[in-house]
């Protein structure tokens, strides 16, 4: 138990078990293959948003270019498995390592920027990546995309089966969640939060702020790459529009809606936005006869509303009553104890 407590300390165990239970239960409840696909995509995107949450919510650095890292993972997997016939697993790892180093090298100069300038620089990276995958068409297939990416298989189980892939994706997402939770609690997490509050003060305490900023940027990029590789092997086809800045902004909205200050918020936000996306499409198409990317308009509205009324995100709304309930319980227990001790006297 002590080992488990080290990883899933204190009040983290219950929500984690709840999430595991939910993930195990959903395949029995959800019969529609369409919704199942969305659940898989939520798992994939959650890996990206978890990393982004560490970067934005904890270290206080913004990125509007994570779709590029998502794309680097997807294209590395795609190209290495189709053109070079490499094992998908090896390609996935190579993708993550490559992305980590690319993000690390990019991070050194751009993380010296702050606020809007950093946002623009990361946006620039995303655009450069988009142009590169369009231009390097011999390798990436250009605008037509890359087809015939093999599916993953694990211990002889073909992950083309949706159920298997669902469990595989969510296992990975849960592992990333565990890692993130532990980073947040560790000394590193404390340093990241202090960078968020005041870089100067953190530096005067002897922290090499740049190293931490670049490292968390690279780590979150590596998470995005992992998700990208999974995406490529699941859909078995990648094309440039998936990795444009609109996707980066979508990731950002997911984090903001869930609440950047909490790792759990990333998963919540991803889930909410993914389902909202489908609802908007469905309602827009059947009732208003609109097709195309209507959701963009709604996203804009969501950002404004979230910033105005829920700057801490949905997670804050959920966690607040739970905390109040806990406090009431504590007070009750305390008063009960006091009564007993008084009777004793």
């Amino acid at each position: 138990m002590s080992k488990l407590e080290k990883v899933l300390y204190g009040n983290r165990l219950k929500p984690f078990l709840f999430l595991v239970g939910l993930i195990l239960m959903l395949p029995f409840v959800v019969k529609s293959s369409y919704i199942f696909t969305i659940l898989i995509l939520i798992g994939i995107y959650s890996i990206v948003t978890l990393g982004l949450c560490l970067l934005i919510g904890y270290a206080g650095q913004i990125s509007l270019g994570h779709a590029a890292f998502f794309g680097i993972g997807a294209y590395t997997s795609g190209v290495l498995t189709t053109s070079f016939q490499l094992s998908p697993w090896l390609a996935l790892v190579i993708g993550m390592v490559t992305t980590f180093f690319i993000a690390y090298l990019i991070g050194i100069p751009i993380l010296k920027l702050k606020g809007h300038f950093l946002a623009l620089a990361t946006l620039g990276i995303n655009i450069i990546f988009y142009i590169l995958i369009l231009g390097l068409n011999q390798l990436t297939g250009g605008a037509a995309g890359l087809i015939g990416i093999p599916s993953l298989s694990l211990f002889g189980l073909p992950l083309t089966d949706k159920l298997f892939f669902y469990f595989f994706v969510w296992t990975a997402a849960l592992l990333v969640l565990l890692l993130s939770l532990n980073i947040v609690r560790s000394h590193v997490g404390r340093v990241l939060r202090s960078i968020h509050d005041s870089e100067i003060a953190t530096e005067t305490l002897g922290v090499k702020v740049e190293n931490y900023k670049v490292a968390i940027f690279a780590l979150s990029a590596a998470f995005a790459s992992l998700a990208g590789s999974m995406y490529a092997h699941y859909i078995t086809f990648v094309a440039p529009p998936t990795f444009y800045i609109t996707k980066s902004i979508l990731f950002l909205i997911m984090v903001m809606v869930g609440g950047a200050g909490s790792v759990w918020g990333a998963i919540l936000g991803t889930t909410v936005i993914m389902f909202l996306n489908e609802i908007i499409r469905f309602v827009g198409h059947t009732y208003f006869g609109i097709s195309g990317e209507v959701e963009i308009v709604v996203y804009g509205l969501i950002i404004i509303l979230i910033m105005m009324f829920l700057p801490k995100g949905l997670m804050h709304v959920i966690s607040k009553p739970i905390q109040k309930l806990k406090q009431k319980k504590k007070v009750k227990i305390k008063s009960h104890k006091d009564m007993i001790s008084q009777k004793g006297v």
Binding site: H187, R190, V191, R193, S194, D197, I200, T204, L205, G206
Partner: protein
């Protein structure tokens, strides 16, 4: 002993500090006073390694500390409490303090606990707030926390950039009292930068007046307090000569 030997600092193309010379002896509190924009904060930031001096050297007990980045300077024993306190408002008081020992945290966790008790004994008002967020403290308590955080790394010298900023006079004197404790109990050298000249001259042993990046007057506390120029310019009293 901290020795500043002909230090000049440029920010961009503008020369802010012009060949500054001064020193702090062991067990001394040194005040640096001056008007807005005189270069006080630039001087402290240069000492702490946030700016690199363009000429001159800074030595702390025979160890050259100029030219090193801020994180190395802290390891060499110089701690800066930056202007405006810069408390980590989303971290608890305990976490704020523990970050003060960042450079030694992994190697010496026991020492961290010891230092924590030592600092809390020095600032008892922080004890009851240990699990509260730093941002929820009052201004005076935040300043105590900032000083406590600066002391966590067992520095040889601590630099305070306007600790009286935005605080009630009574609390300013409480903080200055703690400086005396730091000096006497810990033997730490203190450099105090202040606009509140009256308060600064109450606690210091030596004072330097800085104007447009140059030290124009220096002397012991009594010399500075009775200097007609200081009296008319900084204490707001018309001196007999003026």
């Amino acid at each position: 002993m901290l020795k500043v030997d002909g230090v000049s600092t440029h920010i961009g193309k503008i020369k802010i500090l012009h060949e500054i010379y001064f020193q702090v002896e062991k067990g001394q509190i040194v005040s640096i006073i001056g008007a807005n924009g005189a270069g006080k904060s630039t001087l402290l930031n240069t000492l702490a390694g946030l700016y690199r001096p363009t000429s001159g050297t800074i030595t702390l007990e025979n160890d050259v500390i100029s030219g090193y980045p801020a994180n190395k300077v802290v390891e060499k024993g110089l701690s800066l409490v930056p202007e405006g306190r810069q408390i980590f408002s989303n971290l608890t008081v305990k976490e704020n303090l523990l970050l003060g020992m960042f450079s030694k945290y992994y190697k010496e966790k026991k020492l961290a606990e010891e230092n924590l008790t030592k600092i809390l004994d020095m600032f008892p008002s922080l004890k009851k707030h240990l699990k509260n967020l730093g941002g929820n403290l009052s201004g005076g308590e935040q300043q105590m926390l900032a000083i406590g955080r600066g002391l966590m790394s067992n520095p040889k010298i601590i630099l305070l950039d306007e600790p009286s900023m935005g605080l009630a006079p009574k609390i300013v004197y409480e903080i200055l009292d703690t400086l005396m404790i730091i000096k006497e109990d810990l033997g730490t050298m203190v450099i105090l930068v202040e606009q509140n000249v009256k308060a600064a001259l109450k606690v210091c042993d030596q004072a330097y007046v800085i104007d447009q990046g140059r030290i124009i007057i220096n002397g012991t506390r009594d010399e500075i307090s009775s200097n007609p120029q200081v009296i008319s310019a900084y204490l707001g009293i018309k001196s007999a000569g003026a």
